[in-house]
Amino acid sequence: MENQPSPKKFLYWFDPRHRQPGTWAFILNRITALGLTFYLVLHLVVLSNLTKGAEGYDTFLEFARQPVVKFGELLVIAAGLIHGLNGLRVVLTTFGIGVTIQRQVFWMLMALAAIGTAAFAYVMFFVA
């Protein structure tokens, strides 16, 4: 019957209309989790390539210097920061810490994630 709970309705999770930061956090966590999982698979595939010898390694390093790839890596870092810091917030609230200021905590942690990402970007594109 419609209007009743159903696992098929999980898409509703990604509907941000009329929703609170808590749900955006939840959406972000789903998306970053999917992204990180995808990256992990990719990472393993690439690593397995390395077993094919030094030549493979060199071409790979060449490939990894491209800006597009660097940008991809930056996304991975951002996802890791968002996911991890968000997870921290869930743990904190679960232990009853900062429940009444969870919104502020969320924005603070996301700001941290943004700063972290920016720092990495600086290092990746300008220092290294």
Binding site: M1, R17, Q20, G22, F26, V90, T94, R103
Partner: protein, 245 residues
């Protein structure tokens, strides 16, 4: 209440028997300080006698009138029309999500009320300590003998807004967990912790705080769920060291 007059279009979700739901529009002249429920009742009184909706107290003490107003859970009897639309605007009214629809705007509360009953949460509680612990100074000076009706009016708004409740009917739901938290605080009955310590209890909640955002009655279910988690963990730890049965 004012002497101002607005023309507002109510877009009302209709459903009879097994027929699929559809929307029907009604144009009303309203006083913008009237409440959304007044508009709905007027549609029933003057435009369409077949409209079915739940209501009783009209002053936010019974919890019967929860509906989706422009997509957000509202207690319609205390939601001024002014706060949800403008002159010439629209008010879209739908039944709460995650409850079976009986007809039009009214939903079936049986599963929810059965779960509330299972927590044995009382409606009448001591005034002192009846507010949330972080609400400083509220009712604190009251005589310990005074009592009052509890905050949760069992309106179901939180369950409608909860993104977990949308995917699983087994989830106890924010109001029920909050009731368990309050009942436990009053009675110390450990069985409640056990009942809520599970995949369909406190651990299912993903801390979205939607429930707290829509609760019209200061229950703060999300805070209570987090508090209940802490109590559940505390009990598990004690049990680990053989301090509790």
């Amino acid at each position: 209440m004012s002497h101002e007059r607005w023309t507002v279009t109510f877009i009302v979700s209709r459903r009879k028997g097994e027929q699929p739901p559809h929307f029907q529009s009604f144009q009303l002249e309203v006083d913008p300080d009237e409440y959304v429920l007044d508009g709905v009742e007027r549609i029933w009184a003057f435009h369409d006698r077949s409209l079915v909706f739940r209501h009783a107290c009209h002053h936010s003490t019974c919890g019967a009138c929860g509906m989706l107003v422009n997509g957000v859970e509202k207690l319609t009897c205390i939601t001024p029309i002014r706060s949800v639309t403008s002159n010439g605007g629209k008010v879209k009214v739908e039944p709460l999500r995650n409850f079976p629809v009986i007809s039009d705007l009214s939903v079936d509360m049986s599963t929810f009320y059965t779960r509330m009953e299972e927590t044995c949460a009382p409606q009448v509680v001591p005034v002192r300590g009846s507010a949330l612990p972080y609400e400083k100074g509220l009712f604190e000076q009251a005589d310990p003998a005074y009592e009052r009706l509890a905050d949760c009016i069992e309106c179901g708004c939180c369950i409608s807004a909860c993104p977990v409740a949308v995917t699983t009917p087994e989830y106890q739901g924010p109001a029920v967990l909050a009731a368990a938290q309050q009942a436990f605080s009053l009675t110390g009955h450990a069985g409640l912790l056990e009942k809520m310590d599970g995949a369909d209890g406190v651990w299912r909640c993903h801390s979205g705080f939607e429930c707290t955002a829509v609760c019209p009655s200061n229950v703060d279910p999300a805070w209570r769920i987090m508090d209940l988690r802490r109590k559940v963990i505390g009990r598990r730890i004690k049990r680990l060291f053989g301090l509790a049965k």
